[in-house]
């Protein structure tokens, strides 16, 4: 195993590489607030309270507001927080990369992600700590639909009839362990019930324009063709608020500034969030997320 300092050196190279990649493509580098009054409402993502506000779980809503203000491409690289998440691949404080692009579809982001990882692999290849867990992210990566993948590996079709409990359990126990480990896999077109902030496509079958990137057994990134319809977004937030209340979880206020930006009009866009620490786990071949960070308190 490489030394801790060698891995931190590789981390430096990769973070610099990410910034250079997006700057070179005309992306605006931004730092949106970490401490926010209204985190995005999601059933299973909890924001740690911070005084009368919360620590952000993602910069998503602010980045989309920048698109509404006329920015064509934005990216942010920085810390995000998730209450109660701790395991070999989870930290309550981690580093997230998110980028958004107008007039792009969720398929365009697949190609850009392939190009980003190819560039980062090449940079990291010069580092002493480079011990890649997968062979190489040579594009194009296989694109598997959630429907066909579940039919093959779990024996049922969650797009035809969704069952949240069964979906989560089978994803962890049946699907993820059987995904190929030697190359990246894109799992795409989620059930509309698992759309989160993705827009839905009528079909048939109706699916959410969402994909996730799996590499070496790790879930690395989550992408959407973004939902830009203000009324539907408000309704999804309200449904989620009721579901959180029913589970006894904190219900955050709605981000009215974000909803107002959608009402004013957001161009069609796509966006993606990538766990940078997990990417570094893949590049250095370590099993514990703690091993790629300088400190874990």
């Amino acid at each position: 195993m490489s030394s801790h300092l060698e891995r931190l050196k590789l981390r430096t190279v990769v973070l610099d590489g990410i910034r250079a990649f997006f700057s070179g493509r005309g992306y605006l580098a931004v730092e949106t607030p970490l401490r926010i009054p209204a985190p995005a409402l999601e059933l299973h993502i909890d924001a740690p309270p911070s005084g009368s506000a919360y620590l952000r779980t993602s910069p998503e809503l602010y980045l989309k507001r920048l698109l509404g203000m006329g920015a064509a491409k934005v990216f942010e690289l920085g810390p995000c927080f998730r209450a109660g998440e701790r395991g070999a691949r989870h930290l309550p404080e981690f580093t997230m990369l998110e980028w958004y692009c107008v007039q792009a579809g969720y398929r365009d982001l697949m190609i850009e992600t392939e190009e980003l990882l190819a560039a980062l692999w090449a940079l990291a290849g010069n580092c002493a700590a480079f011990r890649p867990a997968v062979i190489a992210p040579t594009p194009p990566w296989p694109r598997w639909t959630v429907r066909e993948t579940f039919l093959r590996l779990a024996g049922w079709d969650p797009v035809a009839q969704y069952d949240a409990d069964r979906f989560d359990l089978d994803l962890v126990q049946k699907v993820e362990p059987q995904l190929p480990r030697d190359r990246p896999i894109i799992l795409m077109d989620y059930p509309v019930e698992a759309a989160a902030l993705a827009r839905c496509r009528p079909g048939p079958p109706a699916v959410a324009e969402r994909w996730e990137l799996y590499m070496g057994g790790l879930e690395l990134a989550n992408a959407y063709g973004e939902l830009t319809d203000a009324a539907e977004q408000r309704q999804r937030f309200e449904t989620c608020a009721r579901a959180r209340a029913a589970l006894g979880k904190a219900v955050y206020p709605l981000d009215e500034a974000f909803l107002a930006a959608l009402t004013t009009g957001l161009p069609p866009c796509a966006g993606i969030a990538m766990g940078v620490d997990r990417l570094l786990m893949l590049l250095t071949g370590v099993e514990r997320i703690d091993d790629v960070r300088a400190f874990v308190p």
């Binding site: 999601e42 059933l43 299973h44 993502i45 109660g84 998440e85 701790r86 395991g87 070999a88 691949r89 989870h90 949240a164 409990d165 979906f167 989560d168 359990l169 994803l171 962890v172 126990q173 993820e176 698992a194 989160a196 996730e212 879930e219 989550n222 589970l247």
Partner: protein, 187 residues
């Protein structure tokens, strides 16, 4: 009831009235989905293991466990007899004790863990001292630190000891591992 967030390595839980100990524990969370907690658990009496998966909403039974201080009394065939402070007898089998039976001595204070009044575990003093009753003489000049040889201690139990130890030496044995820990005195 325990909540899933209480789960950790070493936690003792109850499933269908049976006591288990968590031996491995992992937290997983698919995409936007709910957290899944995967545990390997070990039956506290028969030692069988299995994998158990919990979701955030699940609750887990807390086993009714109690510790009792007892003193070892005597062996009766396959049974080892202990007495609690009220001279209430507790019988444990040879299989239950495993290698630990070799470290018992009369009046030794032990802690017996009960689940619903059934003994499920026993804790001996961490170290016991035993005399080596037989071992081959160590080869002179061999100073490599990792080299060991078999030695039989009083009661018939066999351990691996460093080469410099001889018959009649007293050694300290770690009862948790059943292994040689230290030399106490030289013959």
């Amino acid at each position: 009831m325990y909540e899933v967030s209480d789960l950790r390595k070493g936690l003792k839980i109850e499933i269908n009235g049976q006591p288990y100990e968590v031996t491995e524990f992992d937290f997983m969370k698919p995409g936007k989905g709910q957290a899944i907690y995967t545990c390997r658990i070990k039956h506290m009496v028969n030692g069988s293991t299995m994998v158990k998966t919990y979701r955030q909403v699940d609750r887990i039974d807390i086993p009714q466990l109690s510790n009792k201080e007892c003193a070892y009394s005597y062996q009766d065939g396959e049974l080892f007899v202990f007495m609690d402070e009220y001279f209430e007898q507790v019988n444990l089998t040879k299989d239950f004790l495993g290698d630990r039976r070799h470290f018992l001595s009369e009046d030794m204070r032990v802690e017996i863990l009960f689940h619903n009044n059934v003994a499920v575990d026993i804790t001996l003093p961490t170290f016991v001292e035993k005399e080596i009753i037989f071992t081959e003489p160590g080869a002179r000049g061999n100073t490599a630190t990792n080299v060991t040889k078999p030695a039989q201690v009083a009661g018939g139990y066999e351990i691996q000891v460093p080469l410099f130890l001889n018959q009649g030496d007293i050694v300290k044995i770690d009862t948790r591992t059943g292994k040689y820990a230290d030399r106490v005195s030289k013959k």
